[in-house]
């Protein structure tokens, strides 16, 4: 295949096509309805004429000389025996017929009106309004006049019978007018008082002479228009009938030919590109065979495309039409054939026109013709052009593997042997390539295909691999298996932010799942309850380089969403570091080395001290510090509440918890990325995860039902607190019932009562929680998790141990149910706490049936909410993406859309990347320390540094008249 340089599309213009253009671009005229002859060769001037392009391999295109695959095909044409209407333009035809003169073809508007509508059209286009409104108004105006303002010809109304028939309609005097008049003059048989109308009465009533009336009754005189009107009025009858004159497509074509160019401009048609008579088809283009390939069935029979079938119909009818006309067939038969031809051309273009039976295949299936190919979700635009399928991808279930680095992904061997990466064989890698080929397709680092320089693709099989390997030379391409270290793209849907698609390094592993380190769960929002993920192997060197530099997981540690790290320790990692550092426990040498065994650290520092037995010990903080860079200085408050101080890479005090190492803004991880490097941060996160897992296993960590129990006296206190709340609520209800409750501003009394009750119950729950909290020990695992931020909250604990609290549906207490009460267990109009869903028990203590039911009511709301919200937010996101997809940050810093309109002069209005700014609270960037750090790293000795920094050169580029300006002046200029 020759390499074609990309071409830029300058513009697309839409218009009608001249029949002459159809003929010019046609490769051949098609006259035979047959496709292939008995030998299986395409028939000349048939529908499969080789000049229309080739689909069979081996044949040569007679127009361009190329073979199937490289020849795009060429249009042919059919000379239609009679003009037919193009269904896509029926509305435009109607509009044109109604607004132009049947005689002279000119628009039925005078010059001022024409000018006005032309201006309005221009204006509408300028204002980006719908020009159709103006066009409709113009047509409406033109229809008003009953005669042509140019030639005076009376105009008939145009009736459009869908889809493709047009009539001229005129009301003319009915043939049986005399009978109708006579009948109306007869007395009403049901009404005895009615004696009918004598001709004299009629003459008086209609103000026509009696003589005329008699003539009319005898059918000798046809009443004129005015007489007819007055007669109709006098008798209350209708004397007209509609006279319909069918307009044949040829009539319409003649009519349209007369419309002058300047008039069609007013009707919104570009006269340079389109002439209205071109709407009426006299030549039908025949799509190239490549657009309607025939398929060969297993039994050797050919099966033609739907479009070909339709074209066969058209040619057959066309042929018959011509034969009949030449033979001088009666007008009736000609018209029938004409209609049939029209039907076939119509369904060739669109087979889903209402009012027309769809053309069907022999099996009864409606044919898929041109319009059906384009329309709808599976159509060419939405299905083929916007929708993409992709090769070199794999999908399977994911599972965790803490031994992997966060940059890696475990790829099952069967995926690795199926998915390939293309390598170009050169002199440098020829041995390697030969090795891959000789391993064959089944042994792991093997290959599946090779491609010779002549473009021939060969499948590597177990049988031919050895032989092929010897043939491989520079210039070949080898599709080799994925091997460890290859860069691949990994993705989990829904892809809501850029961290949903990241590049990983392959680690080929046994079994069937993709393996990933648990610290990358937050960016993918993945868990392992059956989630599946997609993997894409990159095929070009550029893509691989780009992915490695920009998309690797370690480059994505900081989230542009909030400018802090999204990758960090999660769940048990955090509990682990908490246990390791909170009370600063001591570890013996063996223990300390065990904790650190999965890290790079293989030597312990000096021990922190000696225990009673005289053996050295290391503290948790010391062990943690081993993972930090030696020059890290930090101070922040942990989520546990104490101050964490890191000096010169030593954790001096404080607890390491979620705020220090967690995903979503762990201070240490964040600082490492920003001050050191992504690489350093990646190493830290990997190591902290390993250390934390070792730590939590060292201490042992479990939670059971007993961990939420509180002593009986605490239960007592909780009950007391709830009793107090009940009493206060009883008081509130009492005052309400006495009508003494004062309403809060902007609320009714009922709302006030509800609010106050809710408040009281909320407080009761909180105090129950406090009581429970006081009775928990520091080493309670639930407390450890809640404090450290690993999982759960103190509220969860309160509900488990103290009191579950008020259940709410849509922000209110539970009010719906039976009439005037929630459940049948309560009296009507009971306002008390328990009747409206207050759960006074704890989860551990157990809920009463009624409490359980109320809890289920409250819980259901949450379930429904999540279900409804996910679908809604997905749609919202989709719309936002579609609205913003074409915006692009340019190299000049501006954000522009596709038409180069500037949307933002600077990206985000401040040109700042969220991941590059400091995340500390005062938002100041410590420029000095960064400069110091950079400069420090740049120079080897102080002398070199000062030699560079202290160098001063006289200012250049000054006007010879100007005084040399001092540095102070320059600095102050801001």
């Amino acid at each position: 295949m020759s390499i074609q340089s990309p071409k830029e599309i300058g513009g697309i213009s839409f218009g009608l096509m001249d029949p002459e253009t159809y003929r010019d671009m046609s490769a051949t005229k098609v006259i035979t309805a047959d496709t292939y002859d008995d030998d299986g060769y395409p028939i000349d001037m048939g529908l499969m004429d080789p000049r229309l392009g080739v689909i069979d391999p081996g044949l040569e295109c007679r127009t361009c000389g190329r073979h199937s695959g490289s020849c795009n095909g060429h249009f042919g044409h059919i000379e239609l025996a009679a003009p037919v209407i193009h269904v896509g333009f029926t509305k435009l035809i109607r509009r044109l017929l109604r607004s132009t003169c049947r005689q002279c073809g000119r628009l039925a508007l005078n010059d001022e009106q024409k000018e006005e509508f032309r201006d309005r059209l221009v204006r509408a286009k300028e204002l980006n309004e719908d020009p159709n409104d103006v066009l409709k108004a113009a047509v409406r105006q033109a229809r008003k006049s009953s005669t042509c303002p140019h030639c005076g010809e009376p105009q008939a109304d145009i009736k459009h019978e869908k889809p493709t028939t047009y009539y001229e309609v005129q009301n003319v005097l009915s043939g049986d007018y005399s009978e109708r008049i006579a009948e109306a003059m007869q007395p009403d048989p049901d009404d005895e008082d009615d004696v009918g109308l004598s001709p004299q009465d009629l003459a008086d009533k209609a103000e026509i002479s009696l003589e005329r009336v008699n003539q009319m009754l005898a059918g000798e005189f046809r009443p004129r228009k005015d007489d007819r009107r007055s007669l109709e009025k006098a008798l209350g009858i209708d004397l007209t009938e509609e006279d319909m004159n069918k307009l044949m497509p040829s009539d319409i074509r003649d009519w349209f030919e007369d419309i002058p160019d300047e008039d069609i401009e007013v009707l919104g048609i570009n006269s340079e590109k389109s002439r209205p008579e071109w709407i009426i088809l006299t030549v039908l283009p025949v799509p190239p065979v490549t657009a309607r390939p025939s398929i060969t069935l297993d039994n050797g029979q050919r099966s033609e495309d739907d479009l070909t079938h339709k074209l066969v119909d058209i040619i057959r009818i066309n042929q018959r039409f011509m034969e009949n006309r030449e033979a001088g067939a009666p007008q009736l038969i000609i018209e029938d054939l004409w209609e049939l031809l029209q039907y076939h051309v119509t369904t060739f273009i669109d087979n889903e026109i209402s009012g027309t039976p769809p053309a069907r295949h022999r099996s009864g299936r409606p044919l898929k013709t041109l319009s059906q190919r384009l329309k709808g979700k599976e159509g060419r635009f939405r299905g083929s052009l916007s929708g993409k399928r992709v090769n070199f991808s794999a999908r399977t279930v994911i599972s965790p593997d803490p031994t992997l680095s966060l940059n890696e992904v475990g790829v099952p061997d069967r995926v690795a042997t199926e998915m390939t990466i293309t390598i170009n064989v050169t002199e440098r890698n020829i041995e390697e390539a030969q090795q891959y080929v000789s391993n064959g397709p089944e042994n792991h680092p093997g290959s599946n295909y090779v491609k010779r320089p002549d473009g021939r693709r060969l499948k590597v099989t177990e049988k031919n691999c050895e032989e092929l390997a010897t043939k491989v030379e520079a210039g070949w391409e080898v599709n080799r298996h994925l091997v460890d270290g290859d860069i691949v793209i990994f993705n989990r849907q829904p892809s809501l932010h850029r961290m949903s698609i990241m590049a990983h390094e392959v680690v080929v592993m046994p079994y069937k799942t993709f393996r990933l380190n648990t610290v990358v769960c937050p960016p993918y929002n993945a868990d392992f309850d059956g989630d599946e993920m997609n993997l894409h192997a990159l095929q070009t060197e550029e893509a691989r380089a780009e992915a490695r530099v920009l998309m690797r997981v370690q480059e994505q540690i900081l989230s542009p969403r909030f400018g802090e790290n999204i990758i960090g320790a999660i769940q048990d990692h955090i509990s682990g570091t908490y246990l390791l550092t909170h009370e600063n426990p001591q570890f013996s040498e063996t223990q300390a080395l065990d904790l650190l065994r999965a890290t790079r650290v293989d030597a312990l520092p000096d021990p922190d001290g000696e225990d009673e037995m005289g053996s050295p010990y290391w503290t948790g903080q010391t062990i943690f510090s081993l993972l930090l860079p030696g020059d890290l200085n930090l101070e922040f408050t942990s989520s546990t509440g104490d101050t964490v101080i890191v000096e010169n890479g030593q954790l001096l005090e404080g607890t390491i918890d979620e705020d220090a190492v967690g995903a979503f803004g762990g201070e240490i991880v964040d600082t490492l990325v920003k001050q050191y490097s992504e690489r350093r941060a990646r190493i830290f996160v990997n190591e902290i995860a390993s250390l934390a897992m070792r730590a939590i296993m060292h201490f042992g960590f479990s939670i059971g039902i007993d961990d939420e129990s509180i002593p009986p006296e605490a239960d007592e206190q909780v009950d007391e607190a709830i009793r107090n709340a009940y009493e206060r609520i009883g008081g509130l209800i009492q005052t309400y019932e006495n009508g003494e409750l004062e309403s809060l501003p902007g609320r009714t009394v009922d709302e006030t009562l509800e609010m106050k009750i809710m408040q009281t119950l909320g407080k009761a729950r909180d105090s129950a929680g406090e009581i429970a909290e006081d009775h928990f020990t520091e080493d309670n695992p639930a407390v450890v998790m809640a404090r450290s931020g690993a999982r759960g909250s103190m509220l969860n604990l309160t509900q488990m141990a103290g009191c579950v609290g008020q259940q709410a549906v849509r922000g209110e207490r539970i009010n719906r149910g039976y009439e005037d009460r929630t459940l049948a267990h309560y009296k009507p109009h009971d306002l008390s706490a328990e009747a409206h869903g207050f759960v006074e028990n704890s989860y551990r203590g157990g809920l009463t049936p009624r409490e359980f039911f109320f809890h289920a009511m409250g819980g259901r709301e949450g379930l429904v909410d999540t279900a409804v919200r996910t679908s809604k937010s997905g749609y919202l996101q989709r719309r936002l993406i579609n609205a913003l997809s074409e915006l692009e940050a340019q190299y000049d810093g501006t954000v522009r859309d596709t038409s180069d309109t500037i949307v933002q002069f600077e990206y985000g209005e401040d040109g700042t990347s969220p991941v590059r700014v400091s995340s500390s609270e005062d938002f100041d960037i410590d420029v000095d320390s960064i400069v110091d750090r950079v400069v420090e790293a740049e120079f080897e000795s102080a002398a070199e540094k000062s030699a560079f920094l202290d160098r001063q050169e006289p200012p250049t580029n000054l006007s010879e008249y100007g005084e040399p300006r001092g540095y102070e002046e320059v600095e102050s200029d801001d």
Binding site: V809, R816, G817, Y818, F853, R860, T866, A867
Partner: protein, 519 residues
């Protein structure tokens, strides 16, 4: 009662047999009464024979219907009892032959009516619910069940069609024949609407009574596009005088005031005028006689069909309809005056469940109609060729069978509902139990419908508060509570009415008959 006694009782109560009890009761009821009811509704099959001159009309009279237990016809023509396991293994349908008495009757115009042929013939095969009365395994003990390959603890309650087990999903609909008053908005104004789903013999018609923003009452019902004046409609139904109309709605002075506003706007005074006006609405542009005919047809056919009752005069039905409309009007006014709150659609008193028997009845009705059309066609064809008309030759049993089996096999029920039958979830035993006791709301799952998805307090004891799927179907698919009891529709409405009357329920004064409105 001590704990162990209670345990014995509850163990007895929650026995295995009760797990699909609702399906059995409903389906048995259909087999025993429902099928015959449907046949009686149909009663005859009329033909076009006799439309031409010199021909005597022919029609078919439908008689008793009888159903056997499932059996299979082998290739050699022999018929044998079929057990569920065999049906499952051989991928055949667990269905029983249905027989019906049919008589072809000729004559009636010039000649006296004569019975041409009268026999009981096989009209088709009815899929049978495993474990129902007509099932071959009912009454078997565990040992016998094991011998024929059945699982003794299998709850039954499903059908076997082409070897696959299908459950009919119970569906939860709004109660028919009940006035529900609620607020609505139209063109930005709050209006009051009283709704009734009037249902009779599978025909369902929604009647709406709206009080629009200018306080005028409008009624809309099927076959009339848009809405009709309330006053026009009640006058057309025979409630003519102003006084009577007002009195029927309410004697409350404020409501009377509202009614007077309506009466002032009324442009018809008599029943004839009203029907004429209605005629213009239902058949505009047609001849006057046709308009009147059509108007009468519409109010007798499409308006509140549930008030029709066998053996009640058309006159009385019409006046009952007028009274019913007046009650709807009253509900609107009361809502407007805040005398009552809008009805809670999610209140379980306003829900009715369609269990397998009801669904099969719908299916059987349309299948029988299809059979009737086929019989008519066959009769006419046989008559045209001057063949002897015999019942056995004109009934093709495949028609009914196909119409019964196909919906169960695919879940595409009559009336365009889909997913009515589902493949039994055999993941595990609990899955089967849960599936048989599942309940589906016809509300669309794509719309939020927050209120309908909530756990309503009236579901206590009836619907499980915990078991509902997560995701789009949350709260729309429910499951029965363990102790749920499903009551059945009563068999004989007349006796119920008599019973109610004996308990002191009075009819509307001024009407001779005591026909309390159905709700």
């Amino acid at each position: 009662m001590n704990r162990s006694d209670r345990r014995v009782i509850s163990r007895e109560y929650f026995s295995d047999d009760r797990l699909a009890e609702h399906h059995f009761r409903s389906f048995n009821n259909f087999l025993m009464r429902g099928m015959q009811e449907v046949v009686d509704e149909k009663a005859t099959i009329d033909t076009d024979i006799g439309d031409k001159e010199g021909q005597e009309p022919v029609y078919v009279e439908l008689g008793d219907i009888r159903i056997l237990t499932p059996r299979v016809r082998e290739a050699d023509g022999s018929e044998e009892l079929l057990y569920p396991q065999e049906a499952r293994l051989r991928n055949i349908t667990y269905a029983a032959p249905v027989f019906m008495e049919m008589s072809i009757i000729r004559g009636g115009e010039e000649e006296p009516e004569t019975v041409v042929d009268s026999t009981e013939t096989k009209v088709g095969r009815m899929p049978i619910m495993v474990g129902s009365e007509k099932c071959n395994i009912t009454g078997f003990n565990d040992q016998e069940l094991i011998e024929i390959g059945e699982d003794p603890v299998d709850p039954g309650g499903y059908f076997i069609v082409n070897g696959s087990e299908r459950v009919l999903m119970t569906s939860e609909d709004l109660a028919p024949n009940k006035i529900l008053a609620e607020y609505d908005t139209k063109y930005g104004d709050e209006i009051q609407v009283a709704k009734t789903f009037s249902q009779r013999r599978g025909y369902r018609a929604l009647v709406l009574c709206e009080r629009n923003r200018s306080g005028l009452l409008e009624v809309s019902f099927p076959s009339v596009s848009g809405s009709v004046d309330f006053i026009t409609l009640v006058r057309a139904l025979g409630l003519e005088s102003d006084e009577e109309i007002v009195h029927r709605v309410s004697d409350d002075p404020e409501i009377v005031k509202f009614m007077l506003e309506n009466l002032e706007e009324a442009d018809v005074q008599t029943q004839e005028e009203a029907i004429e006006k209605l005629g213009k609405r239902v058949a505009s542009g047609q001849g006057k006689n046709y308009q009147l005919k059509r108007a009468n047809y519409v109010i007798d056919r499409y308006l509140l069909p549930h008030l029709h009752e066998d053996g009640v005069e058309e006159e009385d039905v019409r006046i009952n309809k007028a009274f019913y409309l007046c009650r709807m009007a009253e509900a609107c006014f009361e809502l407007a005056l805040k005398r009552r709150e809008s009805d809670d659609k999610d209140h379980y008193a306003n829900k009715r469940l369609k269990v397998s028997g009801d669904l099969m009845k719908d299916l059987f009705r349309t299948a029988l109609n299809k059979l009737a059309r086929d019989v008519k066609y066959q009769l006419e064809r046989a008559n045209m060729r001057n063949r002897n008309l015999t019942v056995n030759t004109v009934v093709r049993s495949d028609v009914l069978t196909e119409r019964l089996e196909h919906p169960i096999a695919t879940g595409n029920w009559v009336g365009g509902r889909s997913g009515v039958s589902q493949l039994v979830d055999r993941t595990d035993y609990m899955g089967v139990l849960s599936h048989l006791r599942r309940l589906r709301s016809p509300l669309s799952r794509s719309q939020p419908h927050f209120e309908a998805r909530d756990l309503h307090a009236t579901q206590w004891g009836r619907i499980c508060p915990s078991e509902t799927p997560e995701g789009p179907n949350c709260g729309l698919v429910k499951n029965f509570a363990q102790a749920m009891e499903l009551s059945q529709n009563i068999e004989d409405e007349q006796s119920l009415k008599r019973e109610l009357a004996s308990m002191g329920v009075e009819g509307i004064p001024g009407v001779n008959r005591t026909t309390p409105a159905d709700d």
